[in-house]
Symmetry: C2
């Protein structure tokens, strides 16, 4: 779907057939997409494992679909990809709007590809449904990375709930890993609950900050600081360097108030400039250090196991609720019951019992 030109497409795979230059890859894409016959799950898996970006994008589209047939196909694909997934570093990046997430990811991603890594950038942004814009939507802010053949950028899935968006992103990770991406970056918005969801699918959680504007302690109120494995103060350039250094010291002090992490990792603070790339390599060094530590003490693998189980239970709970609240009889009764509960005409517990009886004796 995105940055396709820079990647090998399914057509280019057919070695030996040279394409006349008069056929633009855009037209090819158009024709491809309009074809009635969709590739089978097996074909898509084959494509993904060969590192084919078109196949990957199509599989992600199936994951993001609401059509049950698509979802069944997506499940088949994901299960076939599983054995080839998991060989990656999953990095979550959060920060409120204005801290320069896009420019940071651009600089950080370029650094990673320069080291020979294959980088997938995904996003969890539940607001994208409403705003139709949002993070990663405007890829012009990652101009360089978009053109990089070793980078794959996919905007946030849209969906009504954060849970839905997050689940789809979690599944997309597996597909990207199977396609050979060894570093998965998951960006999120830095407002609301999306951090917790992203934290549940990554190995390393990076909190991006800038100095000043009362931003220093902003994180505290949402417990985000507690989740952070590193706090990086961006825009440490020009007149800002001193302020950024000061903020780093502040954050470092604050981090020490939190209890020690199960992994044995002590969260780090750093400054960087996404603009000049100053400090960007050091961020990756910190992450490498983290990976070495947690993989050697096995907490890395334990955490992934826990995360897998979390997502299974989360999916079950979501589906149970979805089935209940989409039940036509419940839908019809819910509003009036809520009102009665709010106005103390019926107790919250009696109301719940009433609805549940209707549901289970259908």
């Amino acid at each position: 779907m995105t940055s396709k030109k820079a990647h090998s497409s399914a057509l280019q795979e057919k070695a030996g057939i040279s394409q006349p230059e008069s056929i633009s890859s855009q037209s090819v894409e158009h024709i491809q997409l309009s074809r009635k016959v969709q590739p089978s799950a097996e074909e898509l898996v084959e494509g993904i494992l060969a590192g084919n970006i078109t196949a990957l994008s199509r599989a992600i589209t199936l994951v993001e679909s609401t059509n049950p047939i698509h979802l069944a196909k997506a499940n088949t694909i994901i299960n076939s990809c599983l054995a080839h997934a998991n060989q990656s570093a999953r990095i979550g990046i959060t920060g409120v709007p204005g801290v320069g997430k896009s420019t940071f990811i651009e600089a950080f991603g370029k650094h990673l590809t320069s080291l020979g890594k294959k980088v997938a950038v995904l996003a969890v942004d539940p607001s994208s449904t409403i705003s139709h814009g949002s993070i990663l939507g405007d890829k012009t802010r990652m101009e360089e990375l978009v053109k990089d053949p070793n980078a794959f950028i996919r905007p946030s899935a849209s969906g009504e709930t954060l849970g839905g968006v997050a689940r789809k992103t979690r599944e997309t990770i597996t597909l990207c890993e199977a396609a050979g991406f060894d570093t998965i970056i998951i960006e999120t918005v830095g407002v609301g609950q999306s951090e917790t969801a992203v934290h549940s699918m990554v190995d390393f959680f990076l909190l991006l900050k800038i100095a000043g504007a009362g931003d220093e302690l902003q994180g505290i109120k949402r417990g985000i600081m507690e989740m952070a494995d590193a706090i990086v103060i961006n825009k440490a350039d020009g007149d800002n360097i001193k302020k950024a250094q000061f903020a780093k010291v502040e954050f470092n002090r604050a981090l020490h108030l939190f209890p020690a992490k199960k992994s044995g990792w002590t969260p780090k603070t750093a400054t960087c400039s996404a603009l000049t790339s100053e400090g960007i390599p050091e961020v990756w060094n910190t992450i490498t250090e983290f990976l070495n530590l947690t993989q050697s003490n096995f907490s890395f693998f334990e955490k992934r196991k826990e995360q897998n189980q979390f997502w299974m239970l989360e999916t079950i709970n979501h589906q149970l609720k979805s089935n209940f609240y989409n039940n036509p009889e419940i839908e019809q009764l819910l509003d009036s019951t809520k009102k009665a509960v709010q106005n103390d005409e019926i107790s919250p517990f009696a109301a719940a019992t009433l609805l549940l009886e209707k549901y289970f004796t259908k």
Copy 2:
């Protein structure tokens, strides 16, 4: 169940029948409890509305039961009590072990009854199932309040999950209010998630602290400070007064970092000594100030409506899960499926789908 001697019992209600002194009220209680015929829901409601503590205790026992027949009866009672409930101030009190919660509640409760208030003290302590001790279990720490005819102390319901314990306490509030208690204090342990549950059932949330021992910023790590409407530093007596004053200033500064509350209330800090009762009346004055503000700007009532709805949805979600995880087929499959998911043999999502299909096509 508790402090029965001090209250009017069902027997004493039969005016005109004097009891020979040779029958101790304890023996009467014993005989009453061993009777085969249990009072009907109507009888219990009548008793509760008359302020009869035996009836109240029995109804609470029904709420806490796991027997479905008892629970149905409890629902009937609660619904009949609803119209007579809600006329109270609900106060949550939390603090880690050692801050002197019991002595604070003793002093605070005595102050309230001295003002003519009727005080019910409940607790949410999911650990009580395991420890068989825990908060409010040892009522000797509230010796004075136990003997007070205008106080009713009920230890935490026991249960396997916090959610279960919390729901039972939420229902007990309604019963206590219907029995004429106008101030409901809900104590919780200050560790873990129980604060959030208690916060969802009270109007005012009080965080109890002591000076020193690194306790000042302890609250931050669990977002408890953000929920607090007041932070009270206890044990401000003797050599401790200066330290307590200092801690108060610290907390006050920290509180200002949090965003303004929807209610328009600015969280307050104070010091007190539960031992000498110094500062205890001021705590109640602060709460009165809070109640006046939030009732006049209606946020008090809005919050209660939201809380009612929250508990309805919470109960539904709990029951949906309970029904699923207690399904015999699911119980049999769950462990092996979890293992497969942890070891990446099947994706979390495919595993969830598998279990859900089994469940819904039963």
